[in-house]
Each structure stands twice: as structure tokens, then as C-alpha cells.
């Protein structure tokens, strides 16, 4: 799937022909349209939203709500189920505090997985500490998939929440969320999906996933930093108390009490990141125009090509499952070289990869590794860049052979 014509849409990439950016799992580059949407808001529409006494504010509100509609279309969701937040982390905290804190009690269980990003673990740890609930994890198989044979033993009437990552930010594993959600629902549990990696890279239909919540970060899907989304099933949102209190999220306020707006407003306290949300809407629109099926196919083609070529590199080890349930993420190590040293050597060759535990310490513990280097692909990456990546690794493996 050739999307290379799209590279011209990304100013940072167009201006840096020597940069091979393989860290889109951390944050994506932004197309001109998105950057211009930010600028246009401040130059033409800047006013606060939902305070429509004058035309400019009405226009700003309309642009903000149009962004919500675009994100809703992107997720195949209803507009009133789309809550703008800062990022996936905030979305996960919103669920943990606004739902978890009020619904969990001692003896309840929160079921996560061994491949969670810390954003899918720490909010639950915090709420478990306050409620007495316990956090348990679905283990991994050797290939880096969830071991679903353990699921029946882990799910019980004590399980109140199943919270899992849709696509691993380290292994690239795409989890069978629909199947897990079905079993979780049968056990009476709420299903929370961390979609930080899947929303940018896979076609997502939140209703078909069978989830109650789905969290994403705009900046990983061509949007600006500072705007993300929590999607929630309306019936669940409707029964929830707010997370943050303040302006915008109220119905009526007295000095000693208040009542709250219906969702999604109930969960958007204070002035939201208006420009960022509008630009995120533009990013969602851009991705819909490209087509998420094409984005996934492109990532997959690069992944398959890279996995194949990486076999040429002596002492290189890659992790993660082989199969269609894998997105364009490659964690790797090179002999005894530490991932940070490796990333520094690659940087010298103009190749940007991440090194470390990628906010997934339990996963690295499971792999028996302190750190991995990680290359991740997106729609603007090319086969030629994969070639440059592999050739750089070949040079490094040769030059530093004494270190391997």
C-alpha cells in the first residue's frame, strides 16, 4: 500500500529528508492541515465555547462541536459519547476516579493485562488503594499474546472492571478485545479499552468492540498534543458523577451544592483545549479520508518488510507475535548492547527510535529485559526508510561487534 505521496503533507518530514522518524508510537508527526487548523482557530475563531452571546463564540462552539462529530464518525460512535480530555492518561484517570472510586469496594477485582502501558495500570493502583479493590493481570504467552486460557480462572463475580490495551505500544500485539469484552460482560464487568495505539493505526468501531470506554490520545494520530478523547457508552456515562468540577460541566450551582450537565459536558470541566480539539477533529478527518484500512495495510506492509530484512542483522533479536494480530511496532535488542546505546548509535545515523521500557515495566519484567529499542511505523514511513534503518543496524552491528 503506497502512501508515500502523503509525505509531502507533513512539513517536518518534508523539511528533514535525512531524518528517519520511527517513533510514531510515542507521538506522530502532524500534517499541514492539522497545524493550520490550530493557527486558523487563533486567527479567525478564537473565543470561548458554549457561551454563545455573540457570533464569534457561536462560531468557535460550532467548530469545537464539529470536531466532536468528526471524532464520533472516526470511532463509529455517537457524538454525545465523545468527551474531549488531554490524552489517554487523563481519560483512564477519568474512568478510574469517576467510575472506579464510586463503584469499587474491598474485595472487588480490577483485571488488567501484563502488557499494559502504565496509563492503564497506575490509575487503577491509585483507586485500588482508596477502595480496597485488587488489581490482577491476564498473563502473556511466550509469543507476546494474552494468554486467554487463563481468563476463565481470572474472571469471577468479583471482577468489576476489565481494563486492557487494544494494541500493545511495545509488542504491537492487537488484542482480541471483542472476545474478551464479551466474556467480561458475561461476568458482569465494565470494559475499559486503552486505544492509544489502536486508534491511530487500526479501523476502530467502539460499539463492535463491545467496550464501555475507549481512550485515545490525539497527538499519536496526527493531532496536536493536549487533546485526547474518552469515548463512553452513553448509559454508563449518564449514571456517572463528574471527575473534575468547575465551569461548563454544571446545570445549576448553589453555594452549598450543584447539579451537573448531561454527558459529554458533565466531563469537560473548565475551558477545554478548544484549538487542539478542533485540530484533532481535522486529524481524524484526514485519517478518514486516507482510510484506516489503508493505514493499517501500509503499517503492516512495512512491518512485514522490516521483520524480513532485520533477519540480516547479526545478533539482532525482535520481540512480539507473528501474525495478522500485530501492528507496526518492533521492539528489538542487539546483542549485549544496551537499548540506549543502540538508540544513540541509530540517532547518529539520523534514525529516531525510542529506547527504554516504553512505560511498560511489567511487560519488560515479563520479557526479562531492562529495556528495548523500539521502531514504530506510520503512514508517512516508506520502504526506503526501512532499508536505511536496516543498513544502519548492519553498520552498527559491524562497527561495535566487540560490544555484542
Amino acid at each position: 500500500m503506497d502512501l508515500s505521496a502523503l509525505r509531502e503533507d507533513f512539513p517536518l518530514i518534508a523539511k528533514n529528508p535525512h531524518l528517519v522518524y520511527l517513533d510514531s508510537a510515542a507521538t506522530s508527526q502532524k500534517p499541514k492541515r492539522v497545524i493550520e487548523a490550530l493557527k486558523r482557530f487563533y486567527e479567525e475563531l478564537n473565543a470561548n465555547v458554549h457561551r454563545g452571546a455573540y457570533r464569534l463564540s457561536v462560531a468557535a462552539t460550532e467548530a469545537y462541536e464539529e470536531a466532536r462529530r468528526r471524532v464520533a464518525r472516526f470511532l463509529k460512535a455517537e457524538e454525545r459519547e465523545v468527551i474531549f480530555v488531554r490524552n489517554t492518561t487523563e481519560a483512564m484517570n477519568l474512568v478510574a476516579y469517576a467510575w472506579g472510586l464510586r463503584n469499587l469496594k474491598e474485595g472487588d477485582e480490577i483485571l488488567v493485562t501484563e502488557m499494559e502501558h502504565h496509563a492503564g495500570l497506575v490509575p487503577w493502583h491509585l483507586v485500588a488503594g482508596l477502595t480496597g479493590a485488587r488489581v490482577k493481570a491476564i498473563p502473556l504467552t511466550e509469543e507476546g499474546r494474552l494468554d486467554l486460557s487463563a481468563l476463565d480462572g481470572l474472571l469471577s463475580e468479583r471482577t468489576r472492571v476489565v481494563s486492557l490495551v487494544h494494541m500493545s505500544n511495545v509488542l504491537g500485539t492487537i488484542n482480541p478485545v471483542a472476545e474478551i469484552a464479551q466474556r467480561a460482560k458475561a461476568a458482569g464487568a465494565l470494559v475499559v479499552v486503552d486505544g492509544a495505539q489502536s486508534a491511530p493505526h487500526l479501523p476502530v468501531d467502539v460499539k463492535a468492540l463491545g467496550a464501555d470506554f475507549f481512550a485515545l490520545s490525539g497527538h499519536k494520530m496526527l493531532g496536536p498534543t493536549g487533546a485526547g478523547v474518552l469515548w463512553g457508552r452513553y448509559e454508563v456515562l449518564e449514571g456517572m458523577m463528574p471527575f473534575l468540577g468547575g465551569g461548563e460541566m454544571i446545570r445549576e450551582v448553589f453555594v452549598d451544592r450543584s447539579t451537573y450537565a448531561p454527558p459529554p459536558g458533565r466531563f469537560e470541566a473548565g475551558t477545554p483545549p478548544i484549538a487542539e480539539a478542533i485540530a484533532l477533529g481535522e486529524a481524524a478527518q484526514y485519517l478518514m479520508e486516507v482510510g484506516m484500512e489503508r493505514v493499517y495495510a501500509h503499517d503492516r506492509a512495512l512491518l512485514d518488510y522490516a521483520l524480513n530484512r532485520l533477519e540480516e542483522v547479526p545478533h539482532l533479536r525482535v520481540y512480539g507475535p507473528q501474525g495478522p494480530d500485530r501492528g507496526g511496532v518492533i521492539p528489538f535488542t542487539l546483542g549485549r548492547l544496551h537499548a540506549h546505546d543502540l538508540a544513540t548509535f541509530l540517532d547518529e545515523e539520523g534514525i529516531a527510535v525510542r529506547a527504554g521500557h516504553h512505560c511498560a515495566q511489567p511487560l519488560h519484567r515479563r520479557l526479562g529485559l531492562a529495556a528495548t529499542a523500539r521502531a514504530s511505523f506510520y503512514l508517512y514511513n516508506t520502504k526506503e526508510e526501512v532499508d536505511r534503518f536496516v543498513e544502519a543496524l548492519l553498520r552498527i552491528a559491524h562497527k561495535y561487534r566487540a560490544w555484542l
Binding site: 535525512h18 549485549r336 548492547l337 544496551h338 537499548a339 540506549h340 546505546d341 544513540t344 548509535f345 540517532d347 547518529e348 545515523e349 539520523g350 529506547a355 527504554g356 521500557h357 515495566q361 519488560h364 531492562a370 529495556a371 553498520r395 561495535y400 566487540a402 560490544w403
Partner: protein, 142 residues
């Protein structure tokens, strides 16, 4: 791009490799009178520094942990540099080392082998790797 990789060539030399692959004073020091743990949460590097103080002198020192070549070599060379020194001298050396790698100050010859890490000053992303063991030593000597 590609060769020559002068900053890296300067840094990733034999001496760093030696300390990375066979760190000096690595392991547990059961009789330690001071110990501290250091961690770089963003990357997962960990180090524990154990010091046996006799009076005001670092009679023995060991470290353990896991990290990249720069952090391991820095810790290894640090233990060699401060063993037998008085606390004030060790802390002074820590200051000189940090001045070299953090501020890019012209290195003090007193740093000896540690001068091999001078190039870290040109790799801002790696400064924390080089200073981890030293911050941990300062903590242990507090």
C-alpha cells in the same frame, strides 16, 4: 550521516567497553555503612551504591544495578576513582564530573579515566545516564 562518527567514536572507546563488560567493584558490599539506590524512571536504569566508611575515608565501595554502557562505565570508574578518598574529596570529584558532563566545563585532570566520558556533554539525551551513579553516591554520603 555515517562515518566519521566523531563524538561517538570518542566516547564509545575501549575503556568504556571494558568497564561496561566487566565493571569494577560490582556486587554487594555486606559490611557497607552507607547505601543508596538511584533510578532513572524514564528509562529504567537502576543502580545501588554501597560504601564502607572508616572515619572520613571511603575504605571500600561497590555498586550493582543495570544500565547502559555509559551509566555502567560511569559507575565502575566512579568506584575506582573514589575508593580510598576522603568524603570531601569524593564529593568534590562528583562536582567536577558533573561540571564536565552537564555543563560541558573543561575537564579537570583530577578526573583521570573519567575523562573518557567527556563526550557525554555533547549527547544531551545521555547526560542522565552518566550522572546517575554520582547522584546516588552523593545520596549515600549525605
Amino acid at each position: 550521516m555515517g562515518e566519521p562518527m566523531s563524538v561517538l567514536d570518542e566516547l564509545y572507546r575501549e575503556i568504556i567497553l571494558k568497564h561496561y563488560q566487566a565493571p569494577k567493584n560490582f556486587g554487594v558490599l555486606p559490611q557497607a555503612t552507607r547505601r543508596a539506590g538511584g533510578m532513572n524512571p524514564s528509562c529504567g536504569d537502576q543502580v545501588e551504591v554501597m560504601v564502607l566508611l572508616e572515619g572520613d575515608t571511603i575504605a571500600d565501595i561497590r555498586f550493582q544495578g543495570q544500565g547502559c554502557a555509559i551509566s555502567t562505565a560511569s559507575a565502575s570508574m566512579m568506584t575506582e576513582a573514589v575508593k580510598g578518598k576522603r568524603v570531601a574529596e569524593a564529593l568534590d570529584l562528583a562536582k567536577k564530573f558533573q561540571a564536565m558532563v552537564v555543563e560541558g566545563a573543561s575537564p579537570d585532570p583530577a578526573l583521570g579515566d573519567l575523562l573518557a566520558l567527556q563526550g557525554v556533554a555533547k549527547l544531551p539525551a545521555r547526560v542522565k545516564c552518566a550522572t546517575l551513579a554520582w547522584h546516588t553516591l552523593e545520596e549515600a554520603l549525605k
